[in-house]
């Protein structure tokens, strides 16, 4: 064994997995996990913990894995995280815990994500559930949204003894974990549903089909249903479009629609009645994780898929692992390319996309080099389906119906980063509803901070 390198993780062969929706990464077995765990040098001042938005005691759980006590390792993780099987799969470890690992200075960092995933999967397979709270506080808290922020906040509050109800707008809990991230990255029944069961086992109630701001408002929850504090984790729901001609043609979709049809509504399953467009040649516009998810979904549904992104590979916002997997599977990257018009036939169906080539200029306010148009470089790309993956903005349903809840110019709810406190008393917020589109783990971190904030507020009330 090369101590400078990670124990490699088994994956489905790219050619095989490009045709199915089974999980790409197969994870460690116990032998592999214990071997990888032995690479951890158990730093006294562990940097990895500082890199974790929910501050899992990483050396603590890894030392339990090293000793072969996986159940104890699970309880260590559970103290900090409600969704370890999810995080082990979708966290950008390379920029967080693993990015700070001392081993990474000379060689590869410890594979913390894969170890977390192994521990969570082992616990699930062996029926281990997180430990709940015995003492009840008798105070009701409402959590809006059952995505990563809401589940984390609800789980933490339940562990403190609060009576927590989550309100979910869709028919299934999980938020982006269910409608956004595809099966081949995050299995729904085996992983997500089980983690949600774990949160419920702490005493959290989940009411689906309730759209806050429509079915009932925040103020009505407080006044009529006796909730003493509210956490808003409603996510960043509204898809952005480019505003170019032809964008409403038949065959142009938001990544949200395309992924929701496939993931939440199961259109990937041939037995499902949910329709989804089976494009022959698909362009996915954008370079984030969602773009990679949409592209790899379209590929599995039988298309030749192109990622069209206006900057270069270096600026791709997607995780390195996702880009790597996409390339392995045969996604074609058309970088430094920007669409200017969608072309359609006389019946309104997409036939192609007019694009223009770009080059990188001086850095913009985000620090990334600004893409500039190369004059006279227009060309046509024949495609029959275009998926717009340009990011999302927060849904105004809640902010527009809650008096005293202020938003910033991007319509994001204004909340204190350290405790989730909003401009309205008793109302806390976190996740994409506050930050705009970000990651699962950052939303979990915000849910965690807000749970502490709510506990402080209710303890002093």
């Amino acid at each position: 064994m090369d101590v400078l390198k990670k124990v490699p993780v088994r994956e489905q062969d790219p050619k095989v997995r490009a045709t199915n929706f089974e999980e790409v990464c197969l994870g460690y077995n116990q032998e592999e996990a214990m071997c990888e765990a032995s690479r951890c040098i158990n730093c006294r001042n562990a940097q990895c913990v500082k890199g974790c938005p929910v501050a899992i005691d990483i050396p603590g759980f890894i030392s339990k894995v090293k000793a072969g006590d996986i159940e104890a390792a699970y309880q260590v993780i559970s103290e900090a995280s409600a969704l370890p099987a999810v995080c082990g799969r979708v966290c950008p470890q390379e920029t967080q815990c693993e990015g700070k690992c001392i081993r990474g200075i000379k060689g590869e960092p410890v594979s913390i994500g894969k170890l977390e995933r192994f521990v969570a999967d082992w616990a699930r397979e062996n029926g281990i559930v997180p430990e709940g709270c015995k003492e009840k506080k008798g105070k009701k808290v409402a959590v809006i949204g059952s995505g990563p922020a809401g589940l984390t906040c609800a789980g933490d509050l339940a562990k403190m003894g609060y009576d927590v109800t989550i309100f979910e707008a869709l028919h299934e809990p999980g938020g982006v974990l269910v409608y956004g991230i595809p099966e081949f990255r995050l299995p729904k029944k085996a992983v997500v549903a089980k983690e949600i069961e774990n949160v419920k086992s702490l005493g959290v109630k989940i009411e689906t089909n309730v759209v806050i701001g429509k079915s009932i408002t925040i103020d009505q929850l407080i006044e009529e249903e006796g909730f003493e504090a509210i956490f808003i984790g409603s996510g960043a729901g509204l898809p952005k479009f480019m505003g170019i001609p032809g964008e409403n043609s038949n065959g142009v979709f938001s990544a949200n629609e395309y992924l929701t049809r496939s993931n939440l509504m199961k259109a990937f399953d041939p037995d499902s009645n949910t329709p989804i467009m089976h494009g022959k040649k698909v362009a996915v516009v954008g370079g984030g994780n969602v773009a990679m998810d949409a592209a790899r979904t379209a590929l599995r549904l039988g298309a030749e898929v192109h990622i069209v992104y206006r900057r270069s590979e270096e600026e791709l916002p997607a995780r390195v692992e996702e880009v790597h997997h996409a390339k392995e599977e045969g996604i074609i990257f058309n970088l430094l390319t920007n669409p200017t018009e969608i072309l359609a036939d006389e019946k309104g169906w997409v036939t192609g996309m007019k694009c223009i080539r770009m080059e990188l200029g001086a850095p913009d306010e985000s620090g990334r080099r600004r893409p500039v148009v190369i004059p006279d470089s227009e060309f046509e790309m024949p495609v029959d389906c275009v998926i717009m993956s340009l990011g999302t903005s927060p849904n105004p349903l809640i902010s527009s119906t809650t008096e005293g809840l202020e938003v910033n110019k991007w319509k994001c709810i204004i909340a204190d980063e350290t405790n989730g406190k909003t401009t309205k008393e008793g109302v806390y917020a976190g996740g994409d509803a506050v930050t705009g589109a970000a990651t699962v783990i950052l939303a979990m971190g915000a849910g965690k901070a807000a749970a502490k904030g709510i506990d402080e507020y209710l303890s002093n009330k």
């Binding site: 429509k214 079915s215 009932i216 509204l238 898809p239 467009m277 309104g348 349903l397």
Partner: protein, 292 residues
Amino acid sequence: MYKIVKAKELAANIYLMDVAAPRVARYCEPGQFVIVRMGEDGERIPLTICDYDREKGIVTIVFQCVGASTKMMASLQEGDSFHDVVGPLGCPSDLVKEDPESLKNKKILFVAGGVGTAPVYPQVKWLHERGVNADVIMGSKTKDLLILEKEMEAVAGNLYVTTDDGSYGRSGMVTQVIKDLVAEGHQYDVCIAIGPMIMMKFVCLLTKELNLPTVVSLNPIMVDGTGMCGACRVTVGGKVKFACVDGPEFDGHQVNFDEAMRRQTMYRTQEGRAMLRLEEGDTHHGGCGNCQ
């Protein structure tokens, strides 16, 4: 689960159901809609709320069988349940935001086409309860497809019924009735037209000529109904709007109906296949070369 407390066939292939959905019934208003799902793997089907009883916690929906899912829905009986009912979604009708006193001075004309009669009904009823009597034109292809005539009669000012084939009431399209009423000297301040997209398009073409402001209620393809997917985008006055959160009611003179109708056909082939699968069992897989 959301129990069906009443189910009846109003006309051939058009069904009415009262469903226990207390959270929806509590705050819903005319003009809003719900999304229902039959089973664990069911489609999400948007339907306009046709009536509601806040005390009993019941909402009434009316639907026409158009595809596999609605056909299955028609087989549900009193005592059965929907797996999911979510709502109320969309914005309430503009009327309910207006002062009832000023509404009394307004001459309002409703134009209801086919199953579009169902969403028109709660608005006319709402006005009637506030002492405002609106005129209503109800049109259908033929006599047997007319729905809610008695209910409408009870709440409308003047009710004009017309059938395309002349089998009942006046004869001809609803647009002809509008022309006739105007020729007879009726004057209206606002028209609210709800029905098939093609009907709304032609009503709007006519009322634009007549200089009669017209509101329409659109029912494009939707998935979540909360603004998340953008499937329901329509162009109104040159701007892209999401029918689920910005609508479903829009200024009919600003709506790009041709685009909206085109977008409704997006999944026609696949919906047809689902229908065939329901009718013929799992024998039709496409691939015959005639489907795409």
